[in-house]
């Protein structure tokens, strides 16, 4: 069920007019190399921003459980991507015109949307850290920030890495938010290019090659994920 469509799109990426070819990848290299780098950059920035907010927030919530804040942080989980794109575009435009359509605006919107998932995963990991470690740290005078940085983060490193990889992969494949917030010119997220090749040109072949590049990027992250899981089992 999963491998068949995957194999079909990989095969399509190596085919043009019924003949085997690398021409589609050449088109990707020539026209979309910058967009590949842009996509990785925006996804990396979005992931970093997500954790820059999620780690201190989860550290604080680990120290003092506070339902309303925890609920608010999880709200983005239930807001559709399109709504996030539209809402943040409308919210940002009057205050910082032009920012919402920039790479920074897209990264902020992606971070906002993924904050809920990050909090869900991280808070679970932080709460599984035994209370005695935290008490020991506090006895030596560590505040919430210090406890988070020196105890919670190192002890939940594996979960942190896994959530980071999941969120990074999701951002790589984001479509609705860049579509709602981006512009018709300049570098584009990869999924916008896939849509353009297919929608405007009916060019399934190059769209498939772009898709394969996206698979490979996500697969790099997935490999780290699998290694972490395997390492976890052996430990």
């Amino acid at each position: 069920m999963f491998l068949w469509p995957l194999a079909a799109s990989v095969a399509a990426s190596f085919t043009r007019d019924g003949a085997l070819t690398l021409a589609n990848y050449e088109t990707v290299r020539r026209l979309y190399a910058v967009d590949v780098a842009y996509t990785v950059g925006v996804a990396a920035a979005g992931t970093a921003l997500t954790f820059a907010v999620a780690i201190p927030a989860c550290g604080w919530l680990r120290a003092r459980a506070f339902g309303p804040v925890e609920f608010l942080l999880k709200v983005p989980l239930f807001v559709p991507f399109v709504v996030v794109g539209h809402a943040l575009r409308v919210f940002m435009s009057p205050y910082v015109p032009g920012f919402s359509s920039s790479w920074g605006g897209i990264a902020v919107a992606l971070a906002w949307k993924h904050l809920g998932l990050a909090v869900l995963l991280l808070l679970g990991a932080f709460r599984s850290v035994d209370e005695s470690y935290l008490e020991a740290a506090r006895n030596f005078g560590a505040g919430t920030g210090r406890v988070t940085r020196d105890v919670l983060v190192p002890m939940a490193a594996s979960s942190l890495a896994v959530s980071g990889i999941l969120i990074f992969s999701s951002m790589l494949a984001s479509f609705s938010i860049p579509l709602m917030m981006g512009r018709g010119g300049g570098p584009q997220m990869l999924m916008i290019d896939v849509y353009y090749r297919f929608g405007q040109h009916g060019d399934f072949a190059t769209a498939s090659a772009l898709g394969v590049v996206a698979y490979l990027l996500a697969m790099g992250a997935a490999l780290v994920y699998v290694r972490r899981l395997t390492a976890g089992r052996h430990a």
């Binding site: 579509l179 018709g184 405007q200």
Partner: protein
């Protein structure tokens, strides 16, 4: 008596199953779907009570038409008889591709209103002879919309526009080539202007030697874009115009009129058609080659092509330009509707400055040059 009762029961029971179910796939925005559901469908039903319409929208922009093509192509490839779309509304690009691949029926000669289906765009589209296969439901024109409070003297030509944009950086907007067809059309208009090759680019034959002139024109567009505001779509351009973020932009006239009618747009924003012209882009009504209900499909399109229906539903209600012979339709519309329709862009502007899209090879060459040079 028993026989009569049985006959009556049969009459009551049969109509639902005996009625022809006409599947109409609309590759356009919800407002176009609504016209078919609430206006054209019921109007046709009054004339043809044996036909039930099942209207389905497939989305917006080129991908919407592409979805219809994909479905029909799959049915053709699998050798299926009686395809399940009877009437489709598709873009010029997709219709030309479907004609080329033999997916459509040459139904226009069977229509009573066949003589009203005229104009260059029903003969050829993107270099493909579509004569007999298509009837434009309406015509849509790309124009330059401007805010008269900020632009007291609107541009009359691309020369004027380029000079104005340079003098007012960031105040002209359009949606590039990845934000929809109005941006693609603006790009084509720019290339026609810079190269002076309108006839060659729209009528062919394809000559690779023209690539140099095209790339020079697109390079000039890259420089122009440095002073332009690139939006994320036609709606984005209208939105920026409405908020005063930009003072001028390339837009579809129908969406500008629709937004004004709905009170969502500053009513002072006015369209202008500049020399040497911008593309007009019809949406075509087509009948798939193996449509299950071809006869009813032709009757439905014939109804839409009737001058009275075009005048009331297409022009007066939605502010679109008529799809069939304008000389027969325009005398039937009210003076108020006529004033709204031709405010800013007169019938003579349309006659002088409406341009066709280029043939497919040049279209692809221009969009490729745009991706490589402008980005």
């Amino acid at each position: 008596m028993l026989v009569r009762l049985l006959a009556l029961l049969l009459v009551l029971a049969v109509p639902a199953s005996a009625a022809t179910r006409l599947n109409v796939a609309i590759g356009a925005d919800v407002n176009v779907v609504e016209v078919h559901k609430t206006l054209l469908g019921p109007g046709f039903k009054a004339l043809a009570p044996d036909v039930d319409l099942n209207v389905v929208g497939t989305g917006t922009g080129e991908p919407a038409s592409r979805a219809i093509y994909t479905k029909l192509k799959a049915q053709a490839d699998t050798g299926r008889k009686d395809w399940d779309i009877d009437v489709a509304l598709v873009s010029m690009a997709v219709a030309s591709q479907m004609v080329k691949e033999g997916l459509l029926l040459a139904y226009v000669p069977q229509m009573k209103n066949a003589a009203l289906v005229k104009g260059a765009e029903v003969k050829e589209a993107f270099g493909v002879k579509v004569d007999g296969y298509v009837v434009p439901m309406f015509q849509n024109q790309i124009a330059i919309a401007y805010n008269p409070a900020k632009v007291p003297t609107p541009p009359k030509s691309f020369d004027d526009l380029a000079a104005w944009a340079k003098a007012n950086p960031g105040k002209f907007g359009y949606n590039g080539i990845k934000g929809g067809v109005s941006g693609v059309g603006f790009t084509m208009g720019w290339v026609y202007w810079k190269t002076g090759l309108y006839t060659q680019l729209t009528q062919g034959p394809f000559d690779k030697a023209r690539e140099g002139a095209i790339r020079t024109a697109v390079t000039a567009l890259r420089d122009f874009n440095r002073d332009a505001f690139i939006t994320n779509g036609n709606a984005g351009t209208l939105d920026a115009l409405n908020r005063g973020e930009i003072w001028m932009g390339a837009v579809w006239i129908d969406q500008l009129v629709a937004w004004k009618n709905e009170g969502r747009m500053d009513p002072s924003i006015t369209p202008a058609l500049i020399a040497p012209g911008l593309p007009i882009y019809p949406l075509y009504l087509v009948v798939p080659r193996e449509a299950a209900n071809r006869e009813a499909a032709v009757r439905y399109i014939d109804y839409i092509a009737t001058p009275e229906v075009q005048a009331k539903a297409i022009v007066e209600r939605f502010g679109w330009y008529p799809g069939v012979d304008a000389e027969r339709v325009l005398p039937l519309i009210s003076p108020k509707a006529k004033e709204l329709l031709f405010k800013g862009v007169s019938a003579s502007d349309l006659a002088r400055f409406s341009r066709q899209m280029p043939i497919k090879e040049y279209h692809d060459l221009i969009t490729l040059a745009y991706e490589e040079i402008v980005r």
